[in-house]
């Protein structure tokens, strides 16, 4: 079974007539950090729940470390789970919460208190050991939940939108903390999120889900730079989708006629056929102001939005509208002015509509 540690083998899950997960095939390597990314209702949480054992697949098999686990009850799977709302036991103190998995495993009292102390130090909560969860802030509760899911040294840690309830600053801090723990302890992490930034910054690989199916799976840069479908291009980051038809193909360069009959050049790919309709994704930060190499377009500025570290221009040209991100130091003309923009053929990426 090559080097896959966790394997979903044709796994489907339906609730009545509703198909939530359709024929999922997914391999996760040992020590890998994989994010399941998608809008709500895309089936990503259900996949995690099946891996943890809280849901049974309707069909298919789930393997972990060469053992079939889809019929195994959750308490025998030895996976750490971190829930969105932390799921700390309200009737136990912080240290009782963290000691719980050790108690379940019959660890000796002395060993338990030693490891709980170490775990509390790891998440810097030593002073709060005797508090109840309700007396902690969201970030502290999150760290307790992490410590509790890691203390029994599971090989796999499942996280269901664990940072969703935190404010932006804390979330970014926790992203770094979790990434650091993943590297330091060599954990295999399956991380469910609907936040594309979170997925991009933390993962080794991202699986983008839509309607219970994987739209695309790959490294963060593959997903961002080479989205395979229109859905992925729009879901990950911001993008400009340009529609047109293939006019001619010359070697590795194709000429595309836009809807207003302007033409642009793009890198030819196998699936482009002369005369066929295509959609391209061009990232806003790949479009430069002024004439340059590659394609140029004459546009008119319809809005300028100030973002602090950059400016965002809304342009109309080529028969449609474009968003462009630009350096705030190069202050552009104001709304209503015309503006020439340029972009390279290699930054136009054909996607499946």
């Amino acid at each position: 079974m090559d080097n896959s540690f966790i394997r979903f083998d044709d796994v489907s899950k339906s609730f009545g007539a509703l198909k939530v997960v359709e024929e999922l095939n997914l391999d996760i390597g040992k020590g890998e950090f994989v994010s399941l990314l998608g809008p709500s209702g895309s089936g990503k949480t259900t996949i995690l729940m099946m891996l943890a054992g809280f849901e049974n697949p309707t069909s298919g098999a789930i393997w972990s470390d060469r053992k079939r686990i889809d019929k195994l009850p959750p308490h025998k799977r030895n996976m750490g789970v971190v829930f969105q709302n932390y799921a700390l036991f309200p009737h136990m103190t912080v240290s009782e919460n963290i000691a719980f998995p050790l108690k379940m495993r019959g660890t000796s009292r002395a060993d338990t208190s030693e490891r709980v102390k170490r775990a509390l130090d790891m998440v810097q909560l030593g002073a709060l050991a005797e508090r109840r969860p309700s007396q902690l802030s969201g970030g502290q509760q999150q760290r307790v939940a992490l410590a509790r899911a890691l203390i029994f040294e599971p090989e796999v840690v499942l996280m269901d939108e664990p940072l969703g309830a935190l404010d932006k600053q804390l979330r970014e801090q926790m992203q770094l903390d979790i990434r650091d723990l993943h590297k330091r302890l060599g954990l295999t992490v399956v991380f469910v999120t609907h936040d594309q930034t979170e997925a991009l910054t933390m993962s080794d690989r991202i699986a983008v889900f839509n309607h219970g199916k994987i739209e695309q799976i790959g490294s963060p840069s593959e997903i961002y730079d080479h989205p395979s479908t229109r859905f992925v291009a729009e879901f990950i980051g911001e993008t400009n989708l340009v529609a047109g038809s293939v006019h001619s193909i010359d070697g590795h360069e194709a000429v595309i006629r836009l809807e207003n009959n302007e033409v642009i050049k793009v890198v030819a790919k196998d699936r482009l056929r002369s005369g066929s309709k295509v959609v391209f994704s061009i990232r806003p930060e790949r479009i430069g102001l002024g004439a340059g190499p590659g394609n140029t377009l004459e546009t008119r500025i319809s809005d300028v939005v100030y973002y602090g570290d950059h400016l965002r221009l809304l342009l109309s040209g080529g028969g449609q509208s474009f968003v462009v991100k630009t350096d705030r130091n190069r202050l552009p003309p104001s709304v209503g002015d015309s503006l020439t923009v340029s972009f390279l053929p290699s930054d136009c990426w054909a996607v499946d509509a």
């Binding site: 308490h75 719980f100 109840r132």
Partner: protein
């Protein structure tokens, strides 16, 4: 706006007065030294409490009420909690909503109807005129209170807590004992108090299924008020009200302490 506020307060006080006035009317009579259950009270004494504790019929009925009340509480709490555990999270299934309705039925079925049915049935199974028969009868009307109370708490508590416990290595029975039941404790306790109070208060079923040996306090009050209207009834009522209130307060406090823990 102001008129609305005033009328709210007036209506509220009238409603509260209507509910509490009978209690406050009967309670002082428990301390009368007269032989009659009426106002004005000529003087105060505790003779009727002594009567309750010394006269054999009253003493016996208090003990009976305690035996039957405790038995009912135990049985109703266990059965009701199990029922609530089975019913939760399944509101969408028509079968389960039917079963839930059946659980709650004794609340609305006239006690007379239940009483007749039970008398016939208990006679058949040799349970007539026995403590067990009365306890079973009281349990039937006590269980709905436990089911409702426990179900409310369970539906409000987070299923993920139990999933978390399972993922951390707790087998299902450990999850039940360490997570589910401790979290449901407030509902279980208030359900138990309701069951105990229901048993204390129950007269109609008792009339049908109890023999002379299982005469409860409520039953004794009921017959005393027909035979001779003695202030012992007021004294018994006083014990009732003070007793149930104290139990409810004590249990509520103990749950609150164990739930919240030490809060600085």
């Amino acid at each position: 706006m102001n008129f609305l506020r005033v009328s709210k307060i007036v209506f509220g006080s009238v409603a509260v007065f209507f509910l509490l006035a009978p209690l406050f009317a009967i309670l002082p009579l428990a301390f009368t030294n007269s032989a009659f259950l009426n106002y004005p009270i000529p003087g105060y004494s505790t003779r009727w409490f002594e009567e309750l504790l010394t006269a054999e019929v009253w003493r016996r009925s208090i003990i009976n009420s305690l035996i039957i009340g405790c038995g009912t509480t135990l049985l109703a709490t266990v059965l009701g909690t199990l029922g609530a555990l089975g019913l939760r999270g399944t509101q969408l299934s028509p079968v389960f909503s039917f079963i839930k309705t059946v659980f709650l039925l004794p609340m609305v079925v006239p006690a007379v109807v239940l009483g007749v049915g039970m008398q016939l049935m208990f006679a058949r199974y040799g349970l007539a005129n026995s403590y067990l028969g009365v306890i079973i009868a009281h349990t039937v009307v006590g269980v709905p209170f436990v089911v409702v109370n426990v179900l409310t708490v369970l539906q409000g508590s987070d299923r993920r807590l139990e999933q978390a416990a399972a993922s951390l290595g707790a087998a299902p029975y450990v999850v039940l004992g360490k997570i589910t039941l401790p979290l449901a404790l407030p509902g279980i306790v208030s359900g138990a108090v309701f069951a105990f109070a229901t048993s204390l208060d129950e007269v109609v079923l008792t009339l049908f299924v109890a023999g002379p040996n299982q005469r409860t306090l409520a039953r004794q009050m009921f017959s005393t008020i027909r035979e001779n209207i003695s202030p012992a009834i007021a004294a018994a009522a006083f014990l009732f009200i003070v007793g149930t209130t104290l139990i409810a307060i004590a249990l509520n406090l103990s749950v609150r302490v164990s739930q919240r823990g030490s809060r600085q």
